[in-house]
Amino acid sequence: MNEAYVAISLLWIFIFIYSIAGAIDFGAGFWAFVFEKNEQTRAGVLANKFLSPTWKITNVFLVLIVIAFVGFFPRATFMLGTLLLWPVCIILILLTVRSSFMVYAYSAKYFQRALKTSSAISGILIPSLFISVLPITLGGFIEEQNGTMQIQFMTLLQSVTLYTHIGFGLTSALYLSALFLADYAREARDNAAYIIYRKWAIILGPLTLGFAVLVTETMVEEASWIVDRFRDNGLWFGLSIAAFIFAYISLWIKKGDDIGHPRFAVVGCILQYGLASYAYGNAHMPYIIYPILTIEQGVTNPEMFRSLLLSYSIGIVILVPSFILFWKLFLKDQKYLNPNENPEE
């Protein structure tokens, strides 16, 4: 593998981590809001329990993607930065409203409802907007005007593919987060919440698959190159569907009195998205933006490449123990998950 491929693989890993963590994060924000008023379950409380300590960390992954992109592909920065000005700025505004309003709502009872509503709605729009950057990179919506590459927003807004992408982003975020929270509820031994999240996962799962199919079906003329390449990666997509089926079936496995094995479902689902996005990325190579920008054109110089890898190694050594501690305290510790059952001494 040459440097460009090592770099894009690392970047792919970051994007994949963020797409899973971000989907769960934004989805959990939405569920917390939806179930807040529901007196029968602690589903909303549980979502918040997950969200409060994690959203900052999830956000750092987003920043990591941007920074890693500039570091590894500095020569692609000019084109991408110029092209994506508008879509990214809108994401930034939503992201800011989402995070700051969420924190405000934790802190003050005053106009809490309005704060929570704006936060939940802007949050759930973000994954869809991220996903809708994908059709832009496939070509067909970019033209040169007055010497600058520009997105043809009118064409984009009128194309079906944009909306299937948005639908896919929305359902995926909700599906992933529902599955994850089902597992989190099981960990917290909260059966009522588990049942609700399981129900939503069962409803949303097939919807995401449906949208995934629609996405490939509605590709515009100019993006047909990638549909051809999808066929070459058919094996990976097939495995991805198998992982989906595995995840979905796990929701019915009987285990003592409990129905469903959410841990298997979460793992299966992550595998499903991992395999599919590997296949998608593979088909996308070597283009960052088809056909005007490839990874070879964009990649950085060898000196910087080596220094960045060094900094990654050091960073990982420092951070892995912290992540493990964090995991133990917020995703495993019964005293945190379920304070009622384990009253503090």
């Binding site: 409060s52 900052k56 750092v60 920074i67 500039v70 930034l92 990654y312 912290s322």
Partner: protein
């Protein structure tokens, strides 16, 4: 306004917004560390409550610091793609390492806030120390990029292509150490004075003796930290000025309105620099002082603006910004030492007039931060990377910046207002009296 000016205004105001919260995000964790340590030393519950209440305020502040930082981090690539193209090839490492610092801070902040009751005392203090280290480190790393823009090293630009890259030479550029120190100590000082302001204000209007005792302790702690840090800021600012003398002489000349190169150069305080008559109008001049500031000798020679072509002069109004920063620094040193004098030497409580002045210190420190940054960034003009890249070559060519600028400014105004309202409501609903009497400290 053309595209470039619009991008400048847009980016500059976004930074000015981020820096309010970011500075507090660096300064307040240090105060919390001291609060926790004092509690361990003195076993006085007041300090525990202090640390707890400051942490809650920090939580709200970070709720804005993080998204606004995400905004500026991404805007850098959107508005200055030409600049980031070079940054990515030469100085990507500190940006990358900054991410590790963010992770460290975010992880331990969550641990400190949401797991405090499950941690031993030692672990709790270690987590808050990591929060402070993470915040300080992120300020140091971002300042690394900023200092490299002022004194770029580690590459050559040949026909627009970046060659001979040496990432470590770029990182250890000559102004890094002195600039990073200045940024960090000024942030510590600002965090301390914000707390001093609130404590002083509470001492003025509060009647309850127990609560007054609490605020007196908070004020004393913050004045100790603030006094020490403001002194360090000034001493180190002096070194920063010497750095300018050596590496960016036209910035120093514009800061002082010096047109002709001279020995025994005077320091001009106040007034404004007039381009036509080439003098500082309405200033008080301290003879020889500029030479001393820049070179440590009264007969040191300081370069004037006329040594440089007029079209590479920085805007001359940076003289005012420089004066504001230095003025703030001087004022804060004096006021903290006067207050400590009352306490240590006269062994008296602070008089009311002093408390009134102390309530303004936080605001003044923030004004110092803002004017210092705008001084440094605007004083670099017309360069984005000093003598390498002009600002107009760094800027985006995308249309529509004006509309986005208006949208973001509205967002910043909204967030500023909301943050103040939320803070007010939060602390009104959770008054100190409740925590002093209740056992609520653990809850």
């Amino acid at each position: 306004m053309d595209n470039v000016d619009m991008a400048r205004a847009f980016f500059g105001s976004s930074m000015a917004f981020h820096i309010i919260f970011a500075t507090l995000g660096v300064g307040i964790p240090l105060m919390i560390v001291f609060g926790e340590l004092m509690y361990q030393i003195k076993k006085d519950d007041h300090y525990k409550i202090m640390a707890k209440r400051w942490t809650r305020a920090l939580g709200i502040i970070l709720g804005v610091a993080i998204p606004s930082g995400t905004i500026v981090g991404v805007l850098l690539s959107l508005l200055w793609p030409g600049f980031m193209e070079i940054v990515g090839q030469v100085i990507a490492v500190p940006f990358q390492v900054e991410i590790w610092a963010f992770f460290l801070e975010a992880i331990f902040m969550s641990i400190y806030v949401f797991a405090a009751d499950r941690l031993s005392n030692l672990m709790r203090i270690i987590s808050v120390i990591f929060v402070a280290i993470g915040a300080t480190a992120s300020a140091v790393f971002i300042t690394n990029v900023h200092s490299w823009m002022n004194t770029p090293r580690g590459f050559d630009l040949v026909n627009g292509e970046v060659v001979n890259v040496d990432p470590w030479a770029a990182v250890f550029n000559p102004s890094f150490a002195v600039t990073a120190t200045h940024v960090v100590v000024s942030a510590y000082m600002t965090g301390a004075f914000i707390i001093a302001s609130i404590a002083a204000f509470q001492l003025l209007k509060n009647k309850n003796n127990n609560e007054k005792e609490y605020h007196r302790k908070a004020l004393f702690l913050s004045l100790m930290v603030g006094g020490l840090m403001s002194l360090t800021t000034a001493i180190n600012g002096h070194e920063t000025a010497q750095m300018l003398h050596e590496y960016q002489p036209e910035k120093l000349a514009a800061a002082e309105g010096l047109f002709e190169t001279t020995a025994y150069a005077p320091l001009a305080i106040g007034g404004y620099v007039d381009k036509e008559s080439e003098e500082v109008i309405g200033a008080v001049e301290i003879p020889w002082a500029l030479s001393f500031l820049a070179t440590n000798r009264f007969d040191g020679e300081v370069k004037g603006l006329n040594e440089f072509p007029k079209d590479t002069w920085p805007p001359l109004y940076i003289h005012i910004l420089f004066n504001i920063m230095v003025g703030v620094g001087t004022f804060l040193i004096i006021i903290s030492f006067v207050s400590l004098f009352y306490r240590f030497v006269l062994k008296k409580t602070y008089p009311r007039w002093l408390l009134w002045i102390l309530t303004t210190t936080g605001l003044f420190a923030m004004i110092g931060i803002q004017s210092g940054w705008i001084f440094s960034c605007t004083g670099r003009q017309p360069w984005t990377i000093y003598y390498i890249q002009k600002t107009e070559d760094a800027a985006t060519t995308s249309p529509g910046i004006g509309t986005l600028f208006v949208m973001f400014i509205s967002l910043y105004v909204l967030l500023l207002l909301l943050t103040m309202i939320i803070m007010l409501f939060y602390f009104r609903r959770n008054p100190l009296s409740k925590e002093l009497h209740g056992k609520g400290v653990n809850g």
